[in-house]
Amino acid sequence: MATLQPTPPPLDDDGTVGGLGILPWTAITLVGVYAGLRFGIPWLAVLVGVSANPAPVPKFAMAIYMLCAGLGALVYVSSEDTRWRAFLTPIVQAFVVPHGGGRARRLLPLAIIPLLVAWITWGQVMPSTQSPPEGRIQHPGLPEQFAKLENPFGVLKGPERNAIEREGVILYQKNCRPCHGTKGTGDGPLARGLRLQPVDFTDPGTIATVVEQYPFWRIQKGGIGLPNVATPWNSAMPAWEDEIEPDAIWRIIMAEHGIAGTEPRKPEGSER
């Protein structure tokens, strides 16, 4: 296989940066990425004012980001031959080639690595009172009977539409404001009593990404009406179908968009 290896071009980069080898630099970079995710992002959320407390990066996200960082490091060090050799040399010396450092020096990594693996394994299997992470589908399929509904006030324009929205605002303030807040930001006076914050309508990923029929379904059937894939136990939204008439729900939906300054998603003209 020796013939497969190209003659490396005369590179300036000898695999060291500022006196440190590429392997320590790779390790430092990965530790830096980890620190940034572990401490940087949580505090950034506080700094930019989107969270009152540090918002930890969930384990799932940590895992995918660290895997990406590891892949990036591997891609970088192995994409150039001199760099790859410089990266591998200390590893090979530590484990394979008898080195001037002697037996003890070579045994050290051999001891550290199993300990590290053992520590990670213990962390994974130790008994815990935490509930396991749940994969959740944000917007489960809209049931057919709701998909076919039409907003009876959707065609209205100008003053007529404004009048409907005003009625909707009154209904909203009576029924929705306690949890979703006066401005629809999910921070009403009752919100603090809930385990999970109510939806923030000004967030572009909530009511603005779905068609109007979607919040209609959610208001009528509430959290309890969600399918299991959307973890209905993680929602305190009541089912309003016995309390609010369908026409009033449409008014509320229009008011929600008006209060939050959002627009519902609308399909472009279809031939069907």
């Binding site: 918002a55 990406c68 990036g72 891609v75 994409s79 150039e80 917007h139 627009e263 472009e268």
Partner: protein, 666 residues
């Protein structure tokens, strides 16, 4: 005296026949009761669904359809670039291109019969397992099926004529290339007809409430998803063909024992990767267009796709496509080792690497992260206050554009790796200057057209209130700023500041398309959601102008330049070849995954909203089941392709080494 090679082949062939015989015998010994289950029905009753020897009919059709599509993608994708490569060889007089195109076509002829056989099997399984659906479907599409059969004959004739006349028409290359073009026209027509059937199943038209079809076959063909699907599949086939050819070359390279063969297959692998990556540039936008049309046709399907049942499947898709870009770039960077002078550009690679990795990480981030109880409490909700934004469409659009721009920049580095002693553009002829000016004008035309569109866009056309028009201004102004930059960059290039022009334009495009419009997209999503479509188009058009203008400047900038040495084809690491092989595996997995999403979006409908699948197998398979199925399909496909290519190797002539020249590939 029989050579060891021949002995080995003979032994393998015997083993193959023996295995086939054992399989056949085992099949015949299957208990009769199993066959009896499949007995015929009374004429008065047409079953809704039958099982496949007791197996799940839905999975059976899925398996056969996906295998057929994978072979079809190869058979229809490869001729597109085979003809282009042959044309380059003809015009440049470089024999290597011609030989490469011929080798592509040889692979093609081997896969063609298998594609046809699998197509037949797909039709039989559909008729056999879903008779009621098949009956209804034929009632609508029968005329197009006859046309399809005729086109299949034409495709067969064109392919074998194109392949077998290679040597005979060597003196009349133009005629031979015309045959190749004919092959592509017929092949594309076949894809388009097939696409009409599948797209109609998602967006049926002219169907009454009781299910009666009221239109003509042509109306059914021209359903709303037909053209978006055509574009997406056509591009997908080219990417697929490119990466499969790349893997073929990599395997050949790794098993080559002579420098000439290694040089040839190294170069072939490079061309395969180049084709795959180049065709991947427009694919995300074609996918966006398809998704947009799906959403327009049915908000339920649209919601299921991105936010609902298939949202996690789309995260897997982001992982696979992200890997395609990362590994494709990795191969390019590894390939720079074989180019003298490339060390000057090594320092830039780490920046491109960081851009790619960060962008893929963002692309991979779901809106709803899986959270433990304590994480939910710490965040106070289901969505992380910062990372949650990465899960929105605006973020995805921005990072995909950035990935494409970084990949393009990698190509630029590769191209210039051994170039030196540039000829100033001012000293070049009118033709060179005309290329730069022409590219600039094309960019101005594209950007100007869309700027006018946005300046004159009426909010009412998107069902938005008049005051929302304010949201249209920034992207329109940004297009004008980009147009101004085009003029400046063309001026700089003509004044021998080509490098500065390229850097400036790429910088402006990254800022405008990724930075400004990426962030702006979040605000538009909330305040004027329907307008996000226009933002996506503006981002992509700005990006495309970078590809046009910067490429044009690059071509002229390095025209007639000196070289620090020829590319040492064949002198590449084995790692890079394994990268090519993994690209092939990933593209097969991606095609399988996307096939599942496209078809699965119909959920429990054969024809969405018209004919429901009322069988016990109508449920949408879980992602775990999907992963098993797609994994199995991938294994079977790769095994079948390996077998076919091995057979091609048995019948083909021994490779005739040519002088491995060091000219770069466009």
């Amino acid at each position: 005296m029989v050579s060891p090679e021949a002995r080995r082949l003979r032994s393998t062939t015997y083993k193959l026949f023996a295995t086939a015989f054992v399989g056949l015998a085992a099949g015949l010994l299957v208990p009769e009761s199993l066959w009896a289950v499949q007995g015929g029905d009374a004429l008065s009753r047409i079953d809704d669904v039958r099982t496949f020897f007791g197996l799940n009919p839905r999975n059976t059709v899925w398996f056969v359809a996906q295998l057929h599509l994978l072979f079809a993608a190869f058979v229809l994708g490869v001729p597109i670039f085979a003809v282009i490569v042959e044309f380059i060889g003809w015009r440049t007089g470089d024999e290597r291109y011609d030989r490469l195109a011929h080798e592509f076509t040889k692979l093609l002829s081997a896969a063609f019969a298998t594609t046809a056989a699998l197509g037949g099997l797909l039709a039989f399984t559909l008729f056999g397992l879903y008779p009621r659906f098949a009956n209804y479907f034929v009632g609508i599409f029968a005329p197009s099926m006859y046309v399809y059969a005729i086109f299949f004959f034409l495709e067969t004739a064109a392919l074998y004529l194109y392949y077998s006349s290679w040597e005979r028409l060597r003196a009349r290359k133009g005629l031979h290339i015309c045959l190749g073009v004919l092959l592509n026209v017929v092949g594309t027509s076949l894809v388009f007809i097939g696409n009409a059937w599948t797209s109609f199943m998602m967006t049926p038209v002219r169907v009454a409430d009781d299910g009666e079809f009221l239109g003509t076959t042509l109306e059914a063909v021209m359903n709303p998803l037909w053209m978006p699907l055509n574009i997406h599949r056509l591009l997908g086939n080219i990417v697929f063909g490119g990466f499969v050819v790349g893997a073929y070359a990599a395997v050949k390279f790794l098993s080559s024992t002579t420098p000439e063969r290694r040089a040839h297959y190294d170069w072939m692998g490079y061309v395969g990767n180049f084709i795959g990556l180049a065709a991947m540039i427009p694919i995300p936008f074609a996918g966006y267009y398809l998704g947009r049309e799906i959403y327009s046709a049915s908000p339920v399907m649209g919601n299921n796709m991105m936010g609902g049942a298939f949202s996690w499947t789309f995260i897997m898709q982001a992982l696979l496509v992200g890997l395609l870009y990362i590994i494709g770039n990795y191969y390019l960077w590894s390939g720079m080792n074989r180019i003298p002078g490339s060390e000057r550009y090594q320092k830039y690679i780490k920046y491109f690497n960081v851009i790619l990795i960060v962008c893929v990480a963002i692309w991979l981030t779901p809106r709803n992260l899986p959270l433990s109880g304590s994480e939910q409490l710490a965040l106070g909700g289901q969505v992380h206050p910062i990372l949650g934004y990465f899960g929105l469409m605006a973020a995805k659009n921005a990072v995909v554009n950035f990935i494409i721009l970084a990949t393009f920049a990698s190509f630029l580095l590769y191209r210039r790796a051994n170039k030196t002693d540039l000829v100033p553009i001012s000293q070049q002829g009118r033709g060179a200057k005309a290329v730069v000016v022409g590219a600039g004008l094309a960019c101005l035309l594209i950007l100007g057209w869309y700027a006018v569109e946005l300046f004159t866009l009426a909010p009412e056309s998107m069902d938005l209130a008049p005051e929302k028009a304010v949201w249209f201004k920034l992207p329109a102004v940004l297009l004008v700023v980009t147009m101004t930059t085009v003029v400046v960059c063309v001026g700089l290039a003509l004044r021998d500041r080509g490098h500065v022009a390229q850097a400036l334009y790429c910088g402006v495009v990254a800022t405008a398309s990724v930075g400004v419009l990426g962030v702006y997209g979040f605000f538009v999503m909330a305040a004027a959601n329907p307008f996000l479509r226009q933002i996506a188009v503006a981002q992509w058009l700005i990006l495309i102008t970078a590809l046009i203008l910067v490429t044009a400047i690059d071509v002229v900038l390095f025209r007639g330049a000196g070289s620090r040495g020829a590319i040492r084809w064949g002198h590449v690491t084995a790692r890079s070849q394994y990268a090519l092989i993994s690209l092939c595996v990933i593209i097969v997995l991606t095609m399988g995954l996307m096939g599942f999403i496209r078809s699965g979006l119909r959920e429990n409908w054969h024809i969405y909203g018209v004919m429901r699948d009322t069988s016990a197998w109508a449920f949408t398979p879980s992602n775990a089941e999907m992963a098993w199925m797609v994994g199995m399909i991938t294994l079977v496909f790769l095994a079948a392709v390996t077998f076919l290519f091995w057979m091609v190797g048995l019948t083909g002539k021994e490779f005739a080494p040519a002088a491995a020249t060091g000219e770069p590939v466009p």
